[in-house]
């Protein structure tokens, strides 16, 4: 059919769509241009869809339009209703849809190769190269799907975030991956059994790959699945010889890969150690070990203490973490910073790259609470300012302020870049109780420092009390 003998105008339209997608990502270089970028993305998608519909003989337009309408209604209502704290789950769910769509398209192409123009000239067999591309696309799509379903369940709390460790899981996973590669390369023999074996095995491996990975490693997992969904689209683009799909696939694939890299670097862990999973497996056991831990003296502060000291401060740096998201404390926190600003205090937010459950999670929550983005700083931009800070206000973060990452070679988080909070004159540490130890299960020296006051309470309640004390 027409896919191979491409009409140059059609190819051009897909190319333009691809360029629009590049501009969409380019717009995200600053919040000021980002919305324009998003519009480019929409335009690109519209061009791709309209071009496809306009250049194929369509036997079933009403059905297609109905399918798009159903998807639009579901998508738009979800997008409107979703809470910002649920964004990681939503993104994982969306990835699973891309993965599943890639599998369905791959299977459809296998069942009706003529429609995709991938038959050998004059023959009834699918082109060898196309079969391999298709096999790859389906495999990556299936891994993306089942992996994202597990990531979704873990992020959503449907499934425990704790790593599930199967015996010999590395051997099983490596064998399964090797088997998929062998099957894909064997797929140049057109045997239906091979195709279905690839599909089934890939679904299984996606599942097995993600279950051993713990909740706080999810930023890496979500980024990685993002990357996979891109590679799946690219592989299908190869099958269809479609420029828009190939460009998009490459963009999304690199985007996810870079985000995974940034997340791993921020934890000073190798990508493979994250993927191998099991990190934080001892965190549950750490609670039991906690009783054996020596009782060290620590100071308890009150909301009034915090309000008084921060009101008198010149510079306050707030460090939010996943605990802030769980407690939904971002709005109260913004109110607190507004009150402090009224007292002439200079308040800044410091965000660690792995704070939260996905890249940029804290930034979105603060933006939702109308914290201006020029008050929000990245780790390397603000770390030198702690020495001048009167107060470091830690809310729902733990491992990212643990100085043992800098000093103790034996610590599981050794080498991870952390905030130098211990340089601040006073530290307020909001935490639910002294029991929990953060994700890595490491004790935090900051709890016991002379300048530290522990504010033990639910983060939102504590901030609300501080606000009350500030207005009095």
């Amino acid at each position: 059919m027409e896919v191979h003998a491409v009409n140059p105008w059609v190819a051009l339209a897909y190319l333009i769509a691809g360029v629009c997608f590049i501009l969409a990502l380019r717009g995200l270089s600053s919040p000021a241009t980002s919305r324009k970028g998003n519009r480019y993305g929409m335009v690109g998608m519209a061009i791709a869809v309209v071009t496809t519909l306009a250049t194929h003989d369509i036997a079933s337009l009403p059905e297609i339009l109905a399918a798009i309408a159903i998807g639009a209604v579901i998508g738009l209502t979800t997008a409107r209703k979703i809470q910002m704290t649920q964004m990681p789950q939503l993104v994982a769910a969306f990835h699973s849809l891309v993965g599943l769509a890639a599998v369905l398209v791959g299977v459809a192409a296998y069942l009706n190769p003529d429609a995709f123009g991938i038959l050998e000239p004059g023959g009834l067999d699918i082109l060898k190269g196309s079969r391999i591309e298709m096999g790859l696309g389906v495999a990556i799509g299936a891994i993306t799907f089942s992996g994202s379903v597990i990531a979704f369940a873990k992020l959503n709390g449907t499934m425990s975030g704790a790593p599930i460790l199967l015996p010999a899981r590395h051997a099983i996973n490596l064998a399964a991956l090797a088997a998929i590669l062998v099957l894909v390369s064997l797929f140049h023999w057109d045997t239906p059994a091979l195709f279905w074996a690839i599909v089934a095995l890939s679904f299984a491996i996606g599942f097995l790959l993600i279950i051993p990975i713990g909740g706080a490693d999810m930023p890496v997992v979500v980024s990685m699945l993002n990357s996979y969904s891109g590679w799946a689209a690219a592989a299908m683009g190869f099958t269809l010889h479609n420029t828009a799909m190939i460009i998009t696939g490459a963009l999304v694939g690199s985007s996810g890969a870079i985000l995974s890299y940034i997340m791993c670097r921020a934890m000073n862990r190798s990508f493979f150690s994250v993927i191998a999973g099991g990190f934080g497996a001892d965190a549950g056991a750490g609670g039991a070990g906690g009783t054996a831990r020596e009782q060290r003296p620590w100071k308890r502060g009150s909301a009034e203490d915090a309000a008084f000291l921060m009101k008198e401060a010149e510079n306050v740096i707030v460090i939010p973490g996943y605990g802030m998201a769980v407690a939904q404390a971002q709005h109260a926190l913004r109110e607190m910073t507004d009150l402090l600003k009224e007292h002439g205090v200079n308040v800044k937010f410091a965000i660690h790259p792995v704070a939260g459950r996905m890249p940029g999670h804290m930034n979105v929550l603060l933006a939702e609470a109308s914290v201006p983005y020029d008050d929000v700083f990245e780790l390397e931009d603000i770390n030198s300012e702690f020495a001048q800070a009167d107060v470091a206000f830690i809310i729902g973060a733990n491992d990212v302020v643990n100085p043992s990452a800098k000093t103790e070679k034996s610590s599981p988080i050794y080498g991870m870049p952390v905030f130098d909070v211990e340089k601040a004159k006073t530290i307020f540490f909001i935490k639910r109780s002294m029991g929990g130890q953060g994700y890595a299960g490491v004790d935090n020296e900051v709890f016991y420092m002379d300048q530290t006051m522990m504010l033990l309470a639910d983060a939102k309640k504590m901030v609300e009390e501080i606000n009350k004390a500030l207005t009095d």
Binding site: A11, R35, M45, A79, S254, P359
Partner: protein
């Protein structure tokens, strides 16, 4: 198009992606994931081809199912990105009593 031209596009696009994504500000990494998610649903092109073709009913229905999934992603992904981006605000010029102390 022959395999090599497609491969060239792919490889060059990987490089474009590499440089463009490094220039994305970390504050927008969540919208980045949402929007990449929306655009990777360009896979809808394949789904449309499958569902447009007559002849093999199985392929058509799979294609239509894929159209639904991809549309959820396209509309949901762009809409949620738009919603997030609308929340990012610059500091307003409202005078705060900075020199208060």
């Amino acid at each position: 198009m022959d395999f090599i031209s497609i491969l060239s596009i792919f490889v060059l696009a990987c490089f474009v992606g590499y440089y463009v994504v490094w220039s994305v500000t970390p504050a927008l990494h969540t919208p980045l994931m949402a929007v990449t998610n929306a655009i990777s649903s360009v896979i809808i092109v394949g789904a449309l081809v499958a569902s447009a073709a007559a002849g093999v009913p199985g392929a058509k229905w799979l294609g239509l199912a894929a159209v639904v999934l991809a549309s959820v992603n396209i509309f949901g992904g762009f809409a949620v990105t738009e919603r997030m981006l609308a929340m990012y605000k610059k500091k307003d010029k409202a005078p705060s009593r900075k020199e208060g102390k």
